[in-house]
């Protein structure tokens, strides 16, 4: 069964499915999947493996997608579940994903603002990722993957009220950590 991406992000069923339709999905939501996976597993190669696994799952289960949520929410839910499975198996294998560190090269004065901005982004990213998992997950769903509270709750298999309270606490923690450390432009 082929399904086409509509302008509103919904997924329209049609006569047949093919790999070419999957390519459209990959190009549309690929970055969201890869980056969500990377945020979870903190390893690019593992994130790429998860990326492939997610889209194979999407391909195999596309006929079961009922359209109750947006296709993106559905794909991100698959991504998060696949990441959790990976982390569980990685924990069993006692493999600790390594975060890649890259040393910045010596920079010129003209590049200083760019570097500062990049550092600020990095600080915010690290702050978000350093949140306790239960707060980080809901922040990623809502702020990074554009889900509503209800969608985030469904994706994370928690009650909507729980999602709301976790988001509120996450925001407060981020505010406490980042306040005074980032420039006004943010």
């Amino acid at each position: 069964m082929q399904k086409d991406i509509q302008s509103d992000g919904s997924w329209q069923s049609s006569a047949h499915e093919s790999v070419y339709d999957m390519e459209a999905l990959i190009r549309e939501y690929g970055n969201d999947v890869l980056r969500t996976a990377y945020i979870y597993v903190k390893d690019l190669h593992a994130a790429e493996d998860i990326f492939q696994e997610v889209f194979i799952k999407v391909y195999k289960n596309l006929s079961t997608f009922e359209g109750n949520s947006s296709i993106k929410t559905w794909i991100i839910r698959i991504t998060i579940n696949t990441c959790k499975d990976y982390l569980k198996s990685a924990y069993k294998r006692k493999v600790i994903p390594m975060t890649e560190y890259r040393e910045d090269a010596n920079l010129g004065a003209s590049e200083y603002d760019e570097v500062e901005k990049r550092d600020t982004n990095h600080l915010i990213k690290e702050t978000v990722l350093s949140l306790p998992a239960k707060y980080r997950d809901v922040v990623l769903c809502v702020y990074f993957n554009d889900m509503t509270i209800a969608e985030a709750a469904k994706t994370l298999n928690i009650a909507e009220g729980t999602a709301k309270s976790r988001l509120s606490r996450a925001r407060q923690k981020l505010k406490d950590i980042l306040e005074g450390r980032i420039s006004d432009e943010f």
Partner: protein, 306 residues
């Protein structure tokens, strides 16, 4: 980016535009989907598609095996049920209770036959049939069982009762029925009937003398010679008797039979034969009726006249 969603409150942290920051940060780190990753993923999907086709083919090939297995399971289940039924029937057939039931059924059939015969015979003679008490019926049935195992087999046949009824319907249809018919009846109803030697309690060879008295004419003869005794026994042997529950009627003949150790006294009336047997100190009393009581009395009259 706007976070103006229904379930989301506006807070300061929303102004951070976390999505944009994270995307920029991750992009700077090189966390982006490359064409190579897309093509590798598409290849993996194609491979998955091919594997799925192969699996479907395998499933189709496996299907007949699965059907065969299901068929085998059904056949096995049916065979097991069949064996169970056969086993249960065998157990029921061989169980002592069943045998007892069959025996009871046999005696029950015989009892029915006996009752029918008795009832029909008495009707033929124009007498009123009188039902015996429960104990007497049981006694009669018990005797019938003991008398003839061969008859038990016949009595077990469900047609016996019908046959009896048919034959007897013919017999009762004509008052002057012939002897052959009676013999036929006798052969069918022999389980109910006893011979003269049985009611007398002696075989002809054991009889020393016989004294016959015609009560209405007060005529008495005594048979002491062997030939006379045998002739008397021969006449009486032509008659069959049926055990009665009760009956005391007019005394037509008194026959006293003296044996080596026993004595029997038969009082023959118009509808019963009252028998008293003395064996040393033991005295037993029984009531019978002849199958053809009137012919019995005719024969005795003729014998006395001779």
């Amino acid at each position: 980016m706007s976070f103006d969603r229904d379930n989301r409150d506006k807070l300061e942290i929303d102004d951070l535009n976390i999505k944009h920051i994270l995307n920029n940060s991750l992009e700077n780190e090189g966390i982006s989907v490359s064409e190579d990753l897309i093509s590798r993923t598409l290849e993996a999907i194609k491979k998955q598609q091919a594997d799925d086709s192969t699996d479907k083919g395998k499933d189709e090939k496996i299907k007949p095996v699965s059907l065969l297995r299901k068929t085998r399971i059904w056949i096995s289940a049916a065979a097991a049920v069949l064996l169970l039924l056969i086993g249960m029937n065998a157990i029921r057939f061989l169980s002592p209770e069943k045998k007892a039931d069959q025996e009871f059924s046999k005696s029950d059939n015989m009892e029915n036959g006996e009752e029918n015969a008795y009832s029909m015979l008495t009707e033929k003679d124009g007498k009123t049939t009188e039902a015996g008490t429960g104990d007497e019926l049981m006694k009669s049935a018990g005797e019938a069982t003991a008398q003839s195992e061969a008859f038990s087999e016949d009595a077990n046949d469900a047609n016996t009762e019908e046959k009896t009824t048919e034959i007897y319907a013919d017999a009762t249809g004509e008052d002057d029925s012939d002897t052959n018919l009676m013999m036929g009846i006798s052969s069918v109803l022999n389980v109910d009937e006893v011979e003269f030697s049985e009611i007398a309690g002696m075989e002809p060879a054991d009889i020393k003398s016989v004294e016959i008295t015609a009560m209405n004419g007060n005529r008495t003869i005594t048979l002491t010679e062997k030939e006379q005794v045998e002739k008397f026994c021969s006449i009486m042997g032509n008659h069959s008797f049926v055990r009665e529950t009760e009956g005391k009627s007019d005394e037509q003949f008194l026959i006293e039979i003296f044996g080596k150790e026993k004595e029997s006294r038969l009082i023959i009336g118009s509808n019963s034969v009252d028998v008293e047997t003395v064996d040393k100190d033991m005295v037993s009393h029984s009531i019978y009726s002849a199958v053809d009581q009137s012919r019995l009395m005719e024969d005795l009259n003729q014998f006395l006249q001779q």
